[in-house]
């Protein structure tokens, strides 16, 4: 339950889109994607998520959510956990 409280409005569209992208990139089931929590580790935690896969992930986020992610915005913190990435993408969507 703690992860639902950590992502307090986890049912929103950005969260759903991001989970779908993660599901597509990692080739995991919808159930596993739904079980990803704010503190689930991404880059540096999942061996299959290498730099090329992250590059693909970011490009897909740009395409599906109609945002542009600059290279200097990409850092370890935003990529380290699902919560970090979601927070970054939400801020980008709000700014756009």
């Amino acid at each position: 339950m703690s992860r639902e409280t950590a992502l307090d409005d986890s049912a929103d569209a950005t969260d759903a889109a991001l989970r779908q992208i993660l599901q597509d990139v990692l080739g995991i089931s919808a159930e596993r994607a739904a079980s990803v929590g704010a503190d689930t580790g991404l880059f540096g935690h999942l061996p299959e998520l290498d730099s090329m896969a992250v590059a693909g992930l970011l490009t897909e986020i740009e395409d599906r959510l109609a945002i542009v992610i600059e290279d200097d915005e990409v850092d370890g913190e935003m990529l380290e956990t699902y919560g970090g990435l979601l927070e970054f993408v939400r801020a980008k969507c709000d700014a756009g």
Partner: protein, 219 residues
């Protein structure tokens, strides 16, 4: 089977399902990192077309797969010439171009599946390199890398690309050939395999793509 063919830059191999049938599809693969991720789908589509009575030929692009030519010497122009040479040598009647493969497609009837242009390919690889550099504690920028790349070539995602190739990638677009029909990934369904962190396969996607081609080829 594996067949030999001659590109303008030397001898190359091709994976073929060749039984001298009348419909012969030249398959132009996805590029670089994507080529590994989409290779099984590509070959599974070929296997299905073989079952449907259609020959297919998947040439190695010079500098890729079994090719002994250094990739660094290759350009989009040399790859286009190679694709044309393969089409001629194998007497292809059609072409199936996958992803960036559409940039090389000779003027034959056929299909382009989930096309991307050169700048999209380059952008993804530059991004991967800047992310890897940052992880290793080095600071590299896309603009800085591009500048170096245009001058002396660049290694991206493990592929050593020459300066001319880098420059060409920035603007390369699939040529507009009206006899080639676009197939969007949405027409196939499922999660795009080139996005997958590890190479994977989806039989339903191979079925769908092969069904589109065979219905139109055998109509």
């Amino acid at each position: 089977m594996i067949a030999g063919w001659t590109s303008p830059s030397g001898e190359e191999f091709a994976l073929t399902f060749d039984r001298d049938r009348t419909k012969r599809v030249l398959v132009l693969p996805a590029w670089f990192d994507e080529s590994n991720k989409v290779r099984r789908l590509t070959v599974e589509v070929m296997r299905r077309l073989d079952g449907a009575g259609v020959d297919t030929i998947l040439p190695d692009l010079p500098g890729c797969n079994e090719s002994e030519i250094p990739l660094e010497t290759q350009t989009i122009a040399s790859w286009r010439a190679a694709a044309q040479a393969a089409a001629d040598e194998f007497s292809a009647t059609h072409v199936l171009a996958i992803r960036a493969g559409a940039i090389l497609a000779p003027d034959l009837p056929g299909w382009r599946y989930a096309t991307v242009n050169g700048s999209q390919v380059l952008r993804a690889m530059l991004r991967a390199r800047t992310i890897a550099a940052r992880e290793a504690g080095r600071e590299e920028t896309r603009d800085g890398l591009l500048e170096t790349g245009r001058r002396e070539g660049l290694e991206l995602a493990g592929y050593r690309l020459g300066a001319e190739m880098i420059g060409e990638l920035e603007t390369a677009e699939p040529t507009d050939l009206p006899q080639q029909r676009k197939i969007a990934h949405a027409d196939i369904g499922g999660a795009a395999l080139w996005l997958r962190a590890e190479p994977d396969h989806d039989a339903a996607q191979a079925d769908a793509l092969a069904a589109i081609l065979s219905m139109e080829l055998l109509a």
